[in-house]
């Protein structure tokens, strides 16, 4: 009995450095943000418990639209990047001429900061930009791609940054698959496409998931790129958070917005897990 208590105490001590770190730097701020949304422990004016911030968030058209827009700016570039990265990673995994050079080149956007990428897109695709000037003489009139309603510029800049990142992670996962397994699938009658969907994708799913989630979460809180390249309306919630914090000192509303963004992230992640569960269990179990 005494030994049991002692052992539990020893385990608690051993977990403390990692667990304590998470509790202090992750759990506590999250809890404070959550409580802040209800007017408690917030910076600025202490109001005591109130639902006013959530009422303001969901009652204001601009904020509601901002919420959907943030979600849109997280999902669409992530899906676009995944659609490019997955086949790219498969192509890069094969041996081909110029492989080493291409392997270096596709990673270039990784070292370019997001804000620089945004300015590159602006220079290229804004009205009077390089692309428009090159295409105008041949009679092609580019649609509005910067500060446009569908945030195409944001999607281009975010995807441009995300593709090499996702390709790198997914490529690592694909590369870890024993090549004999792929050869076995081929000799058993699977063509390249069937091998891709039935063998490579399920086996690389841990990497695909990691790439998807990291890109998605980055997009959910993105501030600089949507602010530069996004439309005037709607603004993503991240921009509203900045304005409310530093221009209106309304930290309670900022906390409520942060909490809702986090909850939506969690909801999308759960939906992702549910959607890929079929893939992980299509043959009755988890991949790997």
């Amino acid at each position: 009995m005494t030994k049991g208590i002692f052992q539990r105490f020893a385990v608690a001590i051993l977990i403390l450095p990692a667990g304590g770190y998470l509790a202090l730097f992750f759990g506590l701020p999250l809890m404070l943000a959550f409580l802040g949304g209800f007017g408690m422990f917030t910076r600025g004016d202490e109001t005591g418990f109130t639902l006013e911030h959530y009422r303001a968030l969901f009652g204001t058209q601009a904020y509601r639209d901002g919420l959907w827009f943030s979600t849109y700016l997280a999902i669409v570039p992530t899906v676009v990047s995944l659609a490019v990265s997955l086949p790219l990673a498969v192509a890069l995994a094969r041996t081909h001429p110029g492989q080493r050079l291409f392997n270096i080149l596709y990673k270039v956007p990784l070292v370019v900061p997001g804000i620089v990428a945004a300015f590159v897109v602006m220079t290229m695709f804004d009205r009077g930009g390089l692309a428009a000037r090159v295409l105008a003489p041949i009679g092609v009139d580019l649609p509005k791609l910067v500060r446009d309603q569908w945030a195409i510029g944001v999607i281009i800049a975010t995807s441009w940054k995300a593709v090499p990142f996702m390709t790198l992670i997914i490529g690592g996962s694909l590369g870890a698959i024993n090549r004999d397994i792929l050869s076995a699938a081929r000799t058993l009658g699977a063509g390249p496409l069937a091998t891709f969907w039935r063998i490579q994708v399920p086996l690389a799913l841990p990497g695909i998931t990691a790439a998807f989630l990291l890109t998605f979460i980055g997009g959910m809180g993105a501030y600089a790129v949507p602010n530069l390249l996004g439309p005037v309306y709607p603004l993503p919630l991240s921009v509203h958070m900045y304005v409310n914090a530093f221009e209106r000192n309304n930290w309670g509303l900022v906390s409520a917005m942060g909490t809702v963004l986090s909850l939506i992230s969690i909801a999308v992640l759960l939906a992702y897990y549910r959607a890929t569960r079929g893939m992980r269990t299509a043959y009755g179990g988890e991949a790997r």
Partner: protein
């Protein structure tokens, strides 16, 4: 049940020539083994037959049908890998059924064939398990079931037993032979293990540096090798210089022999178990070392500066002391080796 024709298949990787214009014919239901050291090109040849690797030139035909331009999925060739290559995210049954699913076999029919294939390798009760929950031997049997269930024209084995421990390897080797005979599938088996090759094959092709150096039935190849390479690769042997004296071919211990075949070669191959040894104070040989191996006793004997290995089996065999004078004699007529240069008789006798 098919005939495989390989005609002038060649392959280079960069500066390295993996295969020099290999040609061979495997008849219906035959079990052929490609035997050779690592890097001899045997696995490359197998991968070319399966369509995984593209040759630089040459043709492959199954029953007269050219398959060289077909991708692997349309060749109907089963391949069993050294690494098993099971799909880790699929159950045993799904692994075995994968090829049938790809062929669009209706699921009821496919299920029945999967069950039959698993029964064939005694793994029926494990159908619902995942590969990670199986032992190496069980995994390889699943791989075997997966390869035969599609009823391939040709079944290829790429060192399938190399990752298993010795006892399991012998067991699975016997199972494999019984299964191949029962199904009558034309099979090609790649290995570097001579015992495996001899136990399984109808015909062994010995490969070296991208070439087939010799081929034949296991017994013929073991007892009458033509080349030093295959003589030495198929178990231990003594490569002995012979010399001519008064028109007779003589072994180092002055035994006259009637050499089978050509006498242009200056060396013969004589297996240690084919050398008889007797204690003889006037004998030409002197025992250099003795190793007791349980079932046999192996001695190294020096005769005129030539070291001869002698192996005697059975409990009645005496164990000589090092330094004992002995006389040797060949129990069989040794076979001359074609790839060893003609020896100058002076060098031996002088």
């Amino acid at each position: 049940m098919s005939v495989l024709h390989i005609d002038g298949i060649a392959k280079t990787f960069g500066d390295t020539t993996a295969l020099h214009e290999i040609s061979l014919r495997v008849t219906d239901g035959e079990f052929v083994t490609l035997l050779g050291p690592s890097g001899c090109g045997k696995t490359t040849l197998m991968r070319i037959i399966a369509g995984i690797t593209q040759p630089d030139r040459g043709a492959i035909r199954i029953d007269g049908r050219d398959i060289q331009t077909l991708p692997p999925e349309r060749r109907n060739i089963g391949l069993v890998f050294q690494s098993y290559a099971l799909f880790p995210h699929m159950t045993v049954a799904a692994n075995v059924g994968f090829g049938l699913k790809m062929r669009g076999i209706p699921s009821a029919d496919a299920d029945r064939r999967v069950t039959d294939a698993l029964d064939l390798v005694d793994l029926g009760p494990l159908a619902g398990r995942y590969p990670r929950a199986l032992s190496g031997g069980q995994q390889q049997r699943v791989a075997l079931a997966r390869a035969v269930v599609i009823e391939p024209d040709i079944l290829l084995f790429d060192e399938p037993l190399s990752n298993l421990d010795a006892k399991l390897r012998d067991q699975l080797r016997d199972d494999l032979k019984v299964l191949q005979r029962r199904l009558g599938i034309t099979a090609i088996y790649v290995t570097h293990d001579q015992a495996e090759a001899m136990a399984l094959a109808d015909r062994i092709l010995v490969m070296k540096d991208g070439r087939i150096v010799e081929e034949g039935a296991p017994v013929a190849l073991y007892r009458h090798p033509r080349t030093r390479f295959s003589a030495e690769f198929l178990g231990q042997t003594n490569v002995l210089p012979v010399y001519l004296a008064a028109g007779q071919v003589m072994l180092p211990w002055e035994q006259k022999i009637a050499v089978i075949g050509s006498t242009t070669g200056g060396h013969v191959s004589l297996r240690p178990e084919d050398v008889a040894m007797e204690v003889d104070p006037d004998g030409l040989g002197e025992v250099q070392s003795v190793t007791f191996l349980g079932a046999s006793v192996e001695c190294r004997v020096a005769v005129h500066g030539v070291e001869v290995r002698v192996r005697a089996t059975g409990s009645a065999v005496g164990i000589p002391a090092v330094g004992t004078r002995v006389s040797l004699s060949a129990r069989v007529t040794p076979h001359p080796l074609a790839d060893v240069i003609v020896h100058d008789s002076e060098a031996i006798t002088g």
